[in-house]
């Protein structure tokens, strides 16, 4: 039962990763006992499961995910949000207001207007319908400060790091509050613009080098250097 790549080796669509009695994990498909990669990414082996951690992908909604979206449209029944996915997401007016309340369009825009950023959770999604959102839980709702950047959603785990080590380090070094949407949209809010820019740099670096090792140390080093540079220039 051979495998043809080492752990964390780079593969491209169509690469034969394994042959034999293996289970096709994420970003792979099996045909006639042969397991192929379907995306560009790094090979991972988990006992008999072979998967590819995609370096190039896009977000597919999953129930329970926390996402950050932008309001695109206001309809009679609520809002339509862009969550950086192949499908637009729906937030119903009834989610925000009392059930019996019949909202007018201009009242809806006073709650969330076109262009607003909203943190929400996906409550339902299947192949036949666009994802449905809720903002009823604490911590969800309109974003009023900070900036957002968009990264490949599959790299979110890398930004979190093992047991949160990477993200806590960045928060510590930059003093920023960082919220990671599962859809690859990241909200950064700090005390000032410079701190926020540091966090942005760190996250972009992780995105570019996510396929390498020793990343946490390198990011920490970069942040220290940048902060020293700032102090010198101040």
């Amino acid at each position: 039962m051979p495998t043809f790549y080492e752990r964390r080796q780079l593969v491209t669509p169509g690469d034969l990763v394994a042959e034999g009695n293996y289970i096709a994990g994420e970003n792979t498909f099996k045909e006639n006992e042969k397991l192929y990669a379907t995306r560009v990414g790094l090979v991972e082996y988990e006992e008999r499961k072979v998967s590819v951690v995609a370096l190039k992908s896009f977000y597919i909604p999953e129930v329970g995910d926390t996402v950050i979206g932008k309001v695109m449209e206001i309809t009679l029944g609520g809002w339509i949000l862009d969550i950086d996915a192949p499908y637009p997401a729906v937030l119903r007016a009834s989610d925000v207001m009392e059930r019996s309340y019949r909202p007018q369009k201009n009242e809806l825009s006073s709650i969330f207007d076109i262009g607003d950023l909203v943190i929400a959770k996906i409550v339902s999604y299947d192949r036949t319908r666009d994802p449905l959102l809720t903002v009823r839980e604490p911590g969800l709702g309109k974003i009023t400060r900070g900036q957002i950047i968009e990264i490949t959603s599959t790299k979110i785990p890398r930004i979190i790091g093992r047991k949160g080590s990477m993200i806590s380090m960045i928060k510590r070094e930059t003093g920023c509050h960082i919220l990671l949407g599962q859809n690859g949209v990241v909200l950064i809010s700090g005390k000032n613009l410079e701190d926020e820019q540091l966090a942005v740099m760190a996250i972009r670096k992780i995105e570019d080098e996510s396929h390498t090792s020793g990343l946490t140390d390198r990011v920490a080093e970069m942040l220290k250097k940048e902060k020293e540079g700032e102090i010198k220039n101040a």
Binding site: Y36, R39, K56
Partner: protein
């Protein structure tokens, strides 16, 4: 443009540009060169310069084109007005319409369209400079643009044309070889499934010549397939090496 003087291929099978009968034109490929598109790739094959880009999967507009059980692949093959000797009108010609269709058919089998119902994947192939074999070079690059966009695929699709020139079968005809030659056989291929997804021919070939032309084209495809994979990995390989320093 004056017609080529003299023979295009000599008795030893060496062509005017110095290539042997089974040699590809010099080819370079770059992936991920456009910032707005979800995926992109650029190919230069001889004098061909072709830019490809992918947007999607995303919502279909107009909505009635949405398919309930799969994504809809849309493809636009288009030549820039300055891409050819005599300026070409920017309006889509009948040739561009046909090529858009056969190119879409060439790439569809590789994509897991059924994963993304009610969406569309829009593929654009812009020929910036044309010198023969643009549909094949376009497919080779477009497949990489799809991979760059993170569209899951069964395999990369690679394409190459073979043909007959002054009685000899040759690989990868350039424009003058195509115009002066006796036959042109463009072909697109998915190596893992041994699947030919585009096959056309114009000219005149016996059945034996047709078979040889197909086999020659598949050889060209095999070489280009390797280049495709390297192009996809290139960015990551460079970063990895920089990191090591």
């Amino acid at each position: 443009m004056p017609k080529a003087e003299g023979k295009l291929i000599d008795k030893d099978g060496v062509r005017i540009d110095g290539r042997k009968f089974n040699e590809l034109r010099p080819t370079t490929i770059q992936v991920g060169i456009l910032s707005n598109a979800d995926g992109s790739a650029y190919i230069e094959q001889g004098k061909n310069k072709i830019l490809t880009a992918v947007y999607g999967p995303h919502e279909v507009h107009p909505k009635h084109l949405a398919l309930p059980d799969r994504s809809r692949l849309r493809c636009r093959y288009h030549m820039a007005p300055f891409s050819v000797d005599e300026r070409k009108s920017p309006a889509p010609s009948r040739r561009e319409v046909e090529l858009s269709k056969v190119i879409r058919w060439a790439l569809e089998p590789s994509i897991f369209l059924e994963y993304y119902p009610r969406t569309s994947i829009d593929l654009f192939i812009e020929v910036l400079q044309a010198n023969g074999g643009t549909r094949c070079a376009g497919i080779t690059a477009a497949s990489l643009a799809l991979a760059d966009a993170g569209v899951p695929m069964r395999d990369l699709t690679v394409a190459c044309a073979a043909g007959k020139l002054e009685g000899q079968l040759v690989l990868d005809l350039n424009d003058s070889e195509d115009k002066e030659g006796e036959a042109d056989v463009p072909l697109a291929y998915m190596p893992n499934l041994n699947a030919i997804t585009l096959l056309q021919m114009d000219g005149q070939l016996t059945l034996e010549e047709f078979e040889k032309a197909i086999k020659l084209s598949l050889e060209g495809c095999t070489q280009l397939y390797k280049m495709q994979k390297e192009a996809l990995k290139a960015k990551y390989v460079v970063v990895k090496e920089e990191v090591k320093e």
